[in-house]
Symmetry: C2
């Protein structure tokens, strides 16, 4: 008992276009065709489709569904657990965003007020985040704090934004060289090390004690990948002199 595409669509609540799409991406290829190339789906196809619908209902992307159906060697627990983690991450981001939005004081704000408020909110979040990541254990002493605040006023807001934007790019480049296996003594890496040193110097104003405190702080609470990067750039910095 073969089904034509329209029949199958009616029975499953999907559209004809969707079924053709699944065929196109190799997710569900009809087990037969008529002489006129009309698709014919078997009952096995229907059962496969129901599995697809189930997995789609829990939010698995079609690519992953195809992977698990074609290679049942995938462990259900692992795939689902991984998927749950992905969902949790997205959920956490959404929730944080929403909370921040709710905290904004909207009363009587114009667009320019609003963008400014949001901008401030962003900066506060970044500072909090950095503070959190650095950890609170090896804090700067009062004198050091005062010095840092002074520097902040000195270099100006604009430059601070530039520096903040520069860090992720620099880290990304370092990670790329690391992944490519470039030795830390390579000229390209030495260049990166110089930029690194420059950014750190902009923050610390060149004071070695502040740099040391920072270094300790970061070293204490880093992910393995960050530690690897730290060692790598440390070696390159050593080669600089």
């Amino acid at each position: 008992m073969k089904l034509r595409i329209g029949e199958l669509a009616r029975r499953t609540g999907l559209t004809v276009r969707t079924l053709r799409h699944y065929d196109q991406i190799g997710l569900l290829t009809p087990s037969g065709r008529t002489e006129a190339e009309h698709r014919l789906y078997s009952e096995t196809d229907l059962r496969t489709l129901q599995q697809i619908q189930s997995l789609k209902a829990i939010g698995l992307p079609l690519g992953q569904i195809r992977a698990v159906l074609q290679d049942p060697g995938h462990d259900p627990q692992r795939v689902i657990a991984q998927h749950i983690r992905v969902l949790e991450e997205g959920l956490a981001r959404q929730r944080a965003l929403l909370e921040r939005l709710r905290r904004l004081d909207l009363a009587g704000a114009s667009w320019s007020d609003l963008t400014e408020v949001i901008g401030m909110s962003e900066k506060v979040e970044r500072m909090l985040d950095t503070a959190r990541r650095v950890g609170e254990q090896p804090r700067f002493d009062d004198e050091q704090m005062k010095y840092l605040e002074g520097r902040r006023a000195e270099v100006g807001e604009a430059r601070i934004q530039e520096v903040e934007a520069e860090w992720p790019r620099l880290m990304a480049e370092v990670l790329r060289e690391m992944a490519a296996g470039t030795p830390a003594s390579d000229p390209r890496v030495l260049d990166l090390a110089r930029r690194w040193r420059g950014l750190v110097a902009e923050f610390t104003g060149g004071r070695a004690d502040i740099g040391g405190t920072l270094n300790e702080s970061y070293r204490a609470n880093m992910t393995p990948e960050m530690q690897a990067m730290w060692s790598y750039i440390g070696e390159a910095l050593g080669h600089l002199q």
Copy 2:
């Protein structure tokens, strides 16, 4: 002091490609070009871009950002409040999905077990949802409930799935005719009314008392749009005989 695209990218932490994209979609058109057609951004452009970054940071789609920037007549409170509602909806869906996933009993399940479990879970959700929407006030009496359960067993699971899939399609078509201003006496609408009557009959088994109870229930807790549809299809049903 005009900035070239690379400069602006460095200062804002965006990529060159992103800025070109913003130009392409008319979100941020550079205020000038060199003779060689290289983009030149003014400080005003930079400020606009910072506003864009702020609004993007709260998750507003670029299309809406463009709209509010081009026509500041948009009320900030309204736009933000609307955006918050959109985020809340998405969040609720995500959360519900995640909870359902967590409730699944994964221990030792194979893929076929898993899809079956998910399928069951889906059906339960749909039933709960329907029950919720119909409301609990004008409930069926015991005799009616027994009758309905009997019918459910009678028509079989497969047909139930088909019918459940048919409803949204039918409603969508009715809404389309309504929106197009087709009179309820139009043959096309009468056809839809016949299909409607058929689906209701499949559920009630033709018993007028059950149909009446259902009708009351729905009528009591409908959105305005659904009420309009209800009247429309009611009129068409009247024309049938």
